[in-house]
Subunit: 193 residues, 2 copies
């Protein structure tokens, strides 16, 4: 079976498109790599998303997103806060990386942020999502915030840097890197060649 | 007949893809808008292309380009200098904007830069291109560098700012803005709806 690795940030609107598209894929194994863009952006000297720092680009993105969502048949509501704090969701996703619930969890967090305009930085939001898919929210939230798991998310940032990742989503098929939801079809075509 | 407006910079590698694709289009009227990204980037506080300033992104772009060119059936050689000075080519293109030779001129300048690795900032390079399509190079280069025409290119930058253009290529179909070669198919689909 073909394989693809997907690096994504729950705060990233273009990651939303790719996570939902990949969560639907049946014919490829997805390796989910939740990570935080913040530390990557910080190294560029940016203290926020470029979509906030560059006003014209940011304004454009909110015109681009409804068109993109229509293209892929995905729901869309512009979040009332952007970018949202994604560290808690990323920590939980780290725990689920190799679990059968990972795709569903990622899709639901993304929909909470970009369809339902919910604050995914809020523990109650993540707990509700975990419960909705039949998981023990309390135990997972405690494990997610354990020192060990926090250290794993730090290590994930180092891994991203080592791979020269500069944005999200970013895909790898073997050593081939593809940046952006606009390259997901190419990456999948290469994976299934 | 459907219409699309294409804002592009001869120094921009993703503009290269779009200019060549549009130069082949028979079923849509293209309004060519040569402009300079430099002044737009300067307002962001950037003194060079983001592909130079952001090393990881720049390194990626040179892996992305051969794949993109293969996808669109376009030739590709990574320029030995990037970004090249595009002001002279832009000034000539401004003169040709409403002339039958504009598409061919733009395509040849782009190929000089991104297939033949020629210095399009050099007057001899632009003169050779003009001559190759049967035009009076000497007269056009003189007109291109007249005070009036220089002022027109300045005004073009103001026009780009007024439209909130932040990168190239950028397309308009009526008031709808599309940024990047990755959106050209969507823009064309919308234009011919």
């Amino acid at each position: 079976m073909s394989e693809i690795t997907c690096w994504f940030d729950f705060a990233s609107n273009y990651s939303y498109l790719s996570v939902l598209r990949l969560a639907r894929q049946q014919d490829v194994i997805v390796h989910w790599k939740p990570f935080l863009l913040g530390p990557i952006f910080k190294e560029q000297g940016w203290d926020n998303s470029p979509f906030v720092l560059q006003k014209d680009k940011g304004d454009y993105v909110w015109k681009d997103m409804p068109r993109e969502c229509a293209k892929y048949g995905l729901p869309w509501r512009q979040p009332s806060a952007f970018p949202r704090r994604s560290i808690l969701a990323a920590r939980v996703a780290l725990l689920g990386e190799h679990q059968p619930w990972i795709a569903e969890f990622c899709a639901r967090v993304m929909l909470a942020n970009f369809e339902h305009d919910e604050d995914i930085g809020n523990q109650a939001c993540i707990a509700a999502i975990l419960t909705s898919i039949g998981l023990d929210a309390e135990a997972l939230l405690a494990a997610a915030q354990s020192p060990d798991n926090k250290a794993r998310l730090h290590a994930r940032s180092d891994e991203a840097r080592a791979l020269h990742i500069f944005g999200a989503p970013t895909f790898f098929v073997g050593p081939e890197m593809y940046w952006g939801n606009d390259r997901l079809s190419d990456a999948l075509a290469y994976a299934t060649r």
